[in-house]
Structure formats: C-alpha cells, structure tokens
C-alpha cells in the first residue's frame, strides 16, 4: 500500500542541522493497523508529518520517496507522494489520506461550528449538496458515539475526549484509504482512551482502510496494532508483528522499552529503565545510535551503523549482535 524509502527530514537552525528523521525505510501493508513506537524525540511524529507533507520551514524533507501507486492512481501518473505538485497532493488530502491530530492539540477551529469544520472538508473534495453533507456529518458523529446536537456546538464547549472523537469522525468523512493518527490518545483519560482505540479498530474493519498509529505508549500498540515499527534517534531499529515484538524482541532497545512498562498483573517485578538519555538530533552518536545506552554494546557497535536486515520474512532488525540479544530472551 505504501513504500517509504530513505526519508530524511532536517530542521536548519542557527546552531546547525537537527537531523530529526535520518534515513527511514519500511512498507505499510493494505488494511492493517501499523504502530510506530518510540520515545519523544525519536522522529516518529516528524516522519508522519513528512508523509502528510505538513513540514514547514525551517524543516525540509531532504531526501526520500513515498511510493503509493494505489493512492495516486486517480490523480497523477507519478506514484511518489513527495514528488507530486502541491495541487496534486491537495486533491489526495482527506479523500485518500486523512489525519487524526494529537489528543492534546486544539486542532479544531475555535470560531467555527463543529459541523462546518467537517462539511468544508467534504465539500472541497466531493460535489454533494450542503444538506446532504450535513446529514453525512450527523451519521459520522453517530458512529463515534456523539449525539446530533454536538454538530451545532463550538470547540470550546466540548471536553477533550469529545473533541478527539469529532476528529475521528472527520477523518473518515470521505472514506480515505489511509488514516494517520499521531498520538491520538495522549492527554486523554484512560477510560476515554479505551473507547477511542476501540472506535479506531471498529472503523478499520468497517472501512477496510489502513491506519498508521504513532504512540510512545507501548500498551496502546499492544492493544490495537497488527505490526509495529520501533524507532530511535531518527532511524528504524526493529519491525515485526506485534506478537513477535512483544513476545520475542530482538533489538536491545525494544527489549529495554518493553521492560519499562509497569503492568497491573499479579506479580510485581522490579521495573528496569534504560540508562542515559536520548541523544540530541544535532549530533547523533557514531556507529549504532543506541550503543551509548546499550547493555551488550561491542566495539563494532561504536563505529559501524548496522543496516536494517530481514532476519525472517517480515521481521527486520538493525543490530550487529542479534544472536546474543536473542539468547537473552530465552
């Protein structure tokens, strides 16, 4: 469905270039929920912003291709989303690729009614009457569990959870093929988070679309993702099905990440952290970017950056010492 090849996004500033996304490649399969996990500063949000072409100066997408023949079939012969003209890509927006903003963002226009903010997206891409669009909005709000009268309200009259459900309703207004949700449940209460994640799962089955979910919260991925991409310091560390990643993590960073998740299961094991702090995009560490914090780092890790290798079909990892790491899991 989507082939991301060597995408780099750099932010130029007085103090030098922030290489936030530094050569990321992976593919997205049709009709799946792909989770992108990683801590803050690993570049996951910037990556999806690049996919949505929302990067504004001083940030620039320096290299990379995003091949999506299925999406661009209608509007242009080129299949690389990044090379489309602004107008060509604008026609794809929301019809083929839609976006769910972060839970904490005030993404809704404060001076417009909720219904007008969904209708303007519909009417830009679809030639139906305003009355029909209004009915469509009513249906959309229903599917996310909101009552009709919400359409007439203004954003400041809604709670955080309700605003996020409006965003989800808007994102499926034109039945897009790909929905990108950037930290959809951050800053929302856990009871509301459960409802929103279940709504997303239900909509994916109903619409048969692909959803990319970006989140730093591993348990969220455990609940809804089919496949998982682990990112660290602007690059991909590991890719695999969610069962492989949680069951048998290969990369030391992934294992460390899973070990930090507190759970309310019966036995209470000592929580492990990952020493050190995440490096700065101004100067990524040499060799493997995780080696300063890696418990099994060897000299090779310090000077040679590991390639993302496919150790098993659909199972990728970027680590020189995969064998020793695997033995630790046993």
């Amino acid at each position: 469905m989507l082939e991301i090849r060597d995408v780099r996004v750099h932010y130029h500033s007085v103090r030098g270039d922030y290489r936030v996304v530094d050569g990321v490649s992976f593919s997205v399969h049709p009709n799946e929920i792909l989770g992108i996990a990683g801590e803050s500063g690993c570049g996951k949000s910037t990556l999806v912003e690049a996919l949505l072409r929302l990067i504004v100066p001083p940030g620039t997408v320096d290299t990379g291709q995003v091949l999506a023949p299925a999406l661009t079939a209608g509007t242009s012969d080129k299949s690389d989303l990044l090379s489309l003209s602004e107008e060509e890509f604008r026609q794809l927006r929301w019809k083929n690729i839609s976006y769910i903003p972060q839970g904490s963002m005030n993404a809704l226009n404060p001076v417009m009614k909720i219904e007008d903010q969904i209708i303007d997206a519909i009417l830009t891409h679809d030639t139906i009457t305003r009355a029909k669009a209004q009915r469509r909005v009513g249906e959309l709000l229903q599917t996310v569990g909101l009552s009709q009268h919400v359409a007439k309200l203004y954003p400041h009259e809604l709670s955080g959870g309700m605003k996020q459900r409006v965003a989800i309703a808007a994102s499926i207004a034109l039945q897009p093929d790909l929905i990108i949700a950037d930290e959809p449940t951050t800053a929302l209460d856990v009871t509301i988070q459960k409802m929103i994640l279940q709504t997303l799962k239900r909509l994916k089955q109903a619409l048969g679309c692909t959803i990319i979910v970006v989140s730093h919260d591993m348990p969220v991925h455990a609940q809804i993702a089919d496949r998982l991409v682990i990112m660290y310091a602007g690059r991909v560390m590991e890719i695999g099905s969610v069962y492989d990643i949680f069951g048998e993590p290969l990369h030391p960073y992934t294992r460390g990440l899973i070990a930090t998740i507190p759970s309310i299961a019966k036995e209470r094991k000592r929580l492990a952290g990952i020493p050190g702090a995440s490096p700065s995009p101004l100067a990524w560490p040499g060799g493997c970017r995780f080696h300063p914090r890696c418990s099994i780092a060897a000299t090779i890790c310090q000077n040679e950056e590991p390639e993302l290798r496919e150790v098993r079909p659909g199972r990728f990892v970027a680590c020189h010492l995969v064998e020793t790491a695997a033995s630790l899991n046993a």
Partner: protein, 286 residues
C-alpha cells in the same frame, strides 16, 4: 542580552537606530561646537535668516537667524529627555500597578483593571491640551509627568498579563514551598523574567509620550521656557509656511527625526514581542 541581538533582527535594527539618536543627543555640546562654535543655538539673529542649506549651515537657517542643524540636535535632545523621563515614570507606575494587580489578584485586581481600561480608552490629547491651556507656563519635568499620567496604561496591561502568566509557573510554587516570602519571589523569580517586557513598556510609553508632546507643540501649548523640541520645530516650520515657500529642510529635518524615533521604538517592541512571545516563537522556528 547578547543572544537577543542574534535572535531578532528587528530588535537589533531598532536598538541600532535608537542608540545612534541617543548618541547624537548626548554629544550635543560637541556637535554644537562643530557646527556653530560655542554660540547658543537658541540665540536669535546670530546668522542671516532663511538661508538655503549650505556647507556652513547643513540645514540652512530659520526665520530668526538660527542654525537649523544645531537646533535639530538640541531639539532631539529635549524630545528624548521628555520622552524617556515620562516613559520611565509611566513604566514605574505600570510596573507597580501591574505587579500589585497581577500578583495579588482578587478585588484589587478588578478595580485596577477597570481603572486601566478607563485611562486606556480616554483620548489623552484633548485632556492634555485643556490642562496645558490652563497653566500657561510649566517646565519640561511637569510636562513629562503630565504625559506619564496618560501613557502608563499600555505598559500596565502587558506587565499584568505577564505577571499573571509567570505567577502560574511551577517554579513560583516551588519558591513558595522553599519558604521564600512574597518580596523574594517577586524580585528573585519574577523580575528577571520580566525584564524584556519592561523594555516593551518603556519603549511604548516613551513613544506615546513623545507623540503627545509633539501634538501639544503643534497646537502651540507646549512647555514654556527657553527650550526647543522637535515638535516645536515642526510647529515653527509650519507656521513660517516653509513648505509653500520651498524651505523643505526646515520641515523635513524634525519630521524625519521624529519618524526615526517612532520607527526604532516600534522595531524594539516587535523584536522583543517576537522573541518572548511563546506562540510566535513556534512559527519563527526559534
């Protein structure tokens, strides 16, 4: 402070222009000696009247035989003195009221806020004109204080808003929990973060003061006494019909000087606003 110049071009240009003007004002005695030896620029009849700009008189001379360039430097000096004197007093008032209202809050805050909105909305010039007409003669200091009474409202709103936002910051709570009393919290925690906004308050109230002073001069109710300000020079130039008679230098010199003052103040304001206004920072990739 140094990083401020790097981070905002507007601020740097503004300070540069203002700095130049202040420098000229400070060096007035030397420049005066350079231009017309040590004669008093205000003394009438020292030169021929209405001379065209020439090498000896860079901007020509006025109707009463005074060198216009020397007068310009003296006028600049007086205007800046009145402006900054009034600006400082106004900023002082706005800081005190801004702190009391922002930090204490409650009933006092709403009273002060209504008072500020009132003074802000009242058109200052008519009142100033009426008062100036009442008392025929008053000194520059009186004029500056008078102007300050009307130009503190702007600064008050900025500072009060800033104090309110700073007061909610966790490090103020941390200070309170570490047993710092109100005074220490204000001076050690709040004031250092407020300095840029004091700059904005000073710049805007000075500009407002000079604007009002020029207005008064133009109507001929400026401060009495043997002084000259840029506003007074514009008034003279206009009353001599310099435009109609083609003596452009007489009018344009003080006008350009005034515009430079206002532009530099505005640039400083916009520069500080750009650097210290969190929302703006995101856009300019700060």
């Amino acid at each position: 402070m140094r990083s401020l110049f790097l981070r905002s071009r507007l601020f740097a240009v503004g300070v540069l222009i203002l700095g130049l003007l202040i420098l000229i004002a400070l060096l007035q005695p030397f420049i005066n000696r350079l231009l017309i030896g040590n004669t008093d620029p205000l003394a009438m009849g020292t030169f021929d009247t209405m001379l065209e700009p020439s090498r000896e008189h860079l901007l020509g001379t006025d109707k009463w035989g005074r060198d216009w360039a020397a007068l310009l430097v003296l006028g600049l000096r007086y205007s800046l003195v009145i402006g900054f004197l009034s600006g400082t007093v106004a900023t002082l008032i706005s800081v005190i009221l801004g702190f009391v209202s922002g930090y204490k809050g409650g009933r006092l805050d709403s009273v002060l806020r209504t008072l500020t909105d009132m003074v802000l909305v009242i058109p200052a010039l008519p009142i100033l004109i009426t008062v100036a007409a009442y008392i025929k003669f008053f000194s520059i200091v009186a004029m500056a204080l008078l102007l300050a009474l009307f130009s503190w409202a702007f600064g008050m709103r900025t500072i009060r808003a800033q104090v309110l936002s700073l007061r909610a910051r966790p490090y103020v709570d941390l200070a309170r929990v570490s047993n710092l009393n109100d005074m220490q919290i204000i001076f050690e925690e709040l004031v250092p973060n407020l300095l840029p906004f004091l700059g904005v308050a000073l710049a805007s109230s000075t500009a407002v003061a000079i604007l009002a002073e020029t207005g008064l001069e133009l109507i001929g109710v400026g401060p009495g006494g043997n002084i000259i300000t840029l506003g007074l020079m514009v008034n003279f130039a206009q009353s001599w019909g310099s435009l109609a008679l083609g003596y452009y230098a007489l009018l344009f010199a003080p006008v350009v000087a005034l515009i430079l003052i206002f532009v530099s103040m505005n640039l400083i304001n916009m520069g500080l606003e750009e650097v210290f206004n969190p929302r703006l920072k995101r856009v300019t990739g700060g």
